[in-house]
Assembly symmetry: C2
Homo-oligomer: 404 residues x 2
């Protein structure tokens, strides 16, 4: 048994201890080269084969169809907030070369602070107007606070937009779309106009590889930073439908904004994600995480485990709410499997909760600095046993602190 | 004594074995947190303090004045080829709001394939015309081949350019500016117009921290990927004069191109390089490399060592040239301390040289795929003893292969 603290941090976050131990070998001697993985050329046959294995592991475990390429880059979600806009604007320009910019629209679905940030970047970059296709902000347009996925009837997609952006899981707000298409809190794929090839962009940063991606094949771009479920920070994964890998320079000649070369999808795709030097060490550790995941059974293994983990924590939260100790922030049906956010009621009670957990070896439970409270992140590296420990603590805390 | 191969690769490249061993500890348990460095929040006090130490190590060892900020980002040199153009265009716009774009000029000094790539990106991005301030391409404008730094009299700087870009060390071509300001192959600082605050941009990717940076304080931006002298790939270091950290959104309102937020220097600077999640593992290892470097004596230690290493290899190359076995590619005075490039004369002789070296435990000596031949990279992690081994091999190879 390990004496490691259980790390419920929101990212960069826990990695499987067995992967860390395995990584030590490769950091000293990568694939028998005698040289560490951080020291070999990214163009060496050993590294190129590692990258191919990583891609294959993502493709098979997520069932990514051949219509979509898997790309690796740097810069995280923030980088993609810009890159996806620029690439999709270029695509729209090539499809509609003479359309005035005022008639180009980018649809954003606002369910929390990350989708809001993505929209802010679209507004910064310009080239099309921004339309809020749905808005979960409850208090005011300025508020960062959301408590769930908007009702399907409140979605209003534009005709032929440049892109339709949503954040599948809001790490700060703890709000996630349901993965059950029949649920009223699922993403309303059925409301998209008929015809397919939608410019649908999903930020999967904090739920990537934690469960199946509903309607994956219908997405234009799915992006995710590695640093939640599958690896260290510094690696960004893209799943891009091939019609969205466009010649941005041809689009620029038609009037689209220039795209920094490292953000253009086509050079990355053409070079097998080796247009420039990638973050080799992060890629290596992600590859170990996904090899381990494959051995466990891939998404088929993780999805039910992650469902149970979330159910247990939300059940404990509900008990605590009934006893007047906790106050959840997210409506049922919109509650994230990955990030459980709530307040502990009472003066300084959040800090007391965090301190008590730390004394028991459970760390990084503080909510995001913008919203406070508690956040329990339940990424893949958090086992069911780890979850049981925090659930047990949540219950004990209620028993000790409820006035009932 | 280690049995590790000596890794003469051009990057990602050798790291000190002691650093790799030390890193193993932090990958399991970072600063006594019980959690690995790849697992802790980039906003944790432990990581923030690591970042501050890294900055301080760069600042003190390179003697970076308080006029300049040190920033950390992702995306490498390729990312900066775009970022530096966009930020400097914004600065120029704020300085000269009404100047037509046709009258804005970006000066590029072409000394090899990386400066050429940087210029290509400036041409792609537009917003100003590109002026070649000096050109070392010997055969034709299309050739990637250069054999040295242009003569000072061939430099022709624009008046008030947006930027003046040069690549201090050309990793592929093995061409480097002299660090002796009196040398005819130094960067011609004396030809810059009087007045100072030049928009001077230097790509130090493959020579950063290997020796002092001449006239560092006169630079607007110095950038470098970590993966040559100081760490794994995934980390990019910027030294930016504070007048070049501008409000790119204010510039965009005046007509400058929008800058993707992750490429804008000001948000990075304002957030202490934590605007978004950085490449934490790469930062950690770089911090260990620079701690080790500090203990050795910093640049004061490395500069003479690196000079001697280069002198020894170039002396062996010259001997081989005199015996008709080798053919150097770079003129004396322009020869890189970091990357020694040459051909081995005769059919398949490059491959024979590489294979013979590999049999002796010296690897990654093949020249860049675009130019072929041999490349011996002598970054900081290559010791003088390692260098002596390759020099000895170079001499033995000559003895065995010269017809004389």
């Amino acid at each position: 048994m390990s004496k490691r603290p259980i790390n419920f941090g929101a990212g960069p976050s826990a990695l499987p201890e067995s992967v860390l131990n395995e990584a030590l070998g490769g950091i000293l001697d990568f694939k028998g080269t005698g040289i560490g993985v951080a020291e070999v050329s990214h163009r060496s046959k050993e590294f190129v084969s590692l990258l191919a294995d990583l891609e294959n592991n993502i493709r098979t475990q997520l069932d990514v169809p051949p219509t979509h390429k898997i790309l690796f880059t740097q810069g995280g979600g923030t980088g993609q907030f810009s890159a996806v806009v620029l690439n999709m604007l270029a695509r729209h320009r090539l499809l509609h070369p003479t359309l005035p910019d005022e008639q180009r629209v980018m649809d954003y679905v606002i369910t929390g602070s990350w989708s809001k940030k993505a929209m802010d970047e679209a507004n910064r970059l310009g080239g099309a107007s921004v339309h809020i296709a749905a808005d979960a902000r409850t208090k005011s347009k300025d508020s960062k606070s959301t408590d769930g996925i908007p009702a399907h009837e409140d979605f209003d997609f534009s005709a032929d937009p440049v892109l339709i952006h949503y954040c599948e899981n809001e790490t700060v707000d703890g709000v996630q779309f349901s993965n059950d298409e029949q649920s009223p809190t699922s993403f309303p794929f059925h409301l998209l106009p008929a015809g397919g090839l939608w410019p649908l962009v999903a930020d999967y940063s904090s739920s990537f590889m934690s469960r199946k991606i509903p309607r994956l094949a219908d997405h234009a771009v799915i992006f995710a930073g590695a640093q939640k479920n599958i690896g260290p920070s510094g690696l960004t994964i893209l799943i891009v439908r091939q019609d969205c890998i466009v010649d941005v320079d041809a689009a620029a000649k038609l009037g689209a904004a220039s795209v920094p070369i490292s953000m253009a999808y086509k050079p990355i795709a053409d070079a097998g994600s080796l247009y420039n030097t990638p973050s080799t060490l992060a890629i290596y550790i992600a590859s170990l995480v996904l090899e381990r995941s494959k051995k466990l059974g891939g998404i088929e293994y993780y999805e039910p485990v992650n469902r149970r983990k979330a159910q247990k924590v939300y059940a404990a939260l509900k008990e605590g709410e009934e006893k007047g100790v906790y106050c959840g922030k997210v409506r049922e049906g919109s509650q994230s499997w990955m990030n459980v956010v709530f307040d502990v009621l009472g003066d300084n009670a959040d800090a007391k909760f965090v301190a008590g957990a730390e004394a028991l070896g459970m760390v990084a439970l503080k909510g995001h600095r913008s919203v406070g409270g508690i956040r329990i992140s339940l990424y893949n590296a958090i086992s069911e046993e780890d979850t049981d420990k925090v659930v047990s603590y949540m219950k004990d805390f209620v028993a000790q602190n409820s006035s009932a």
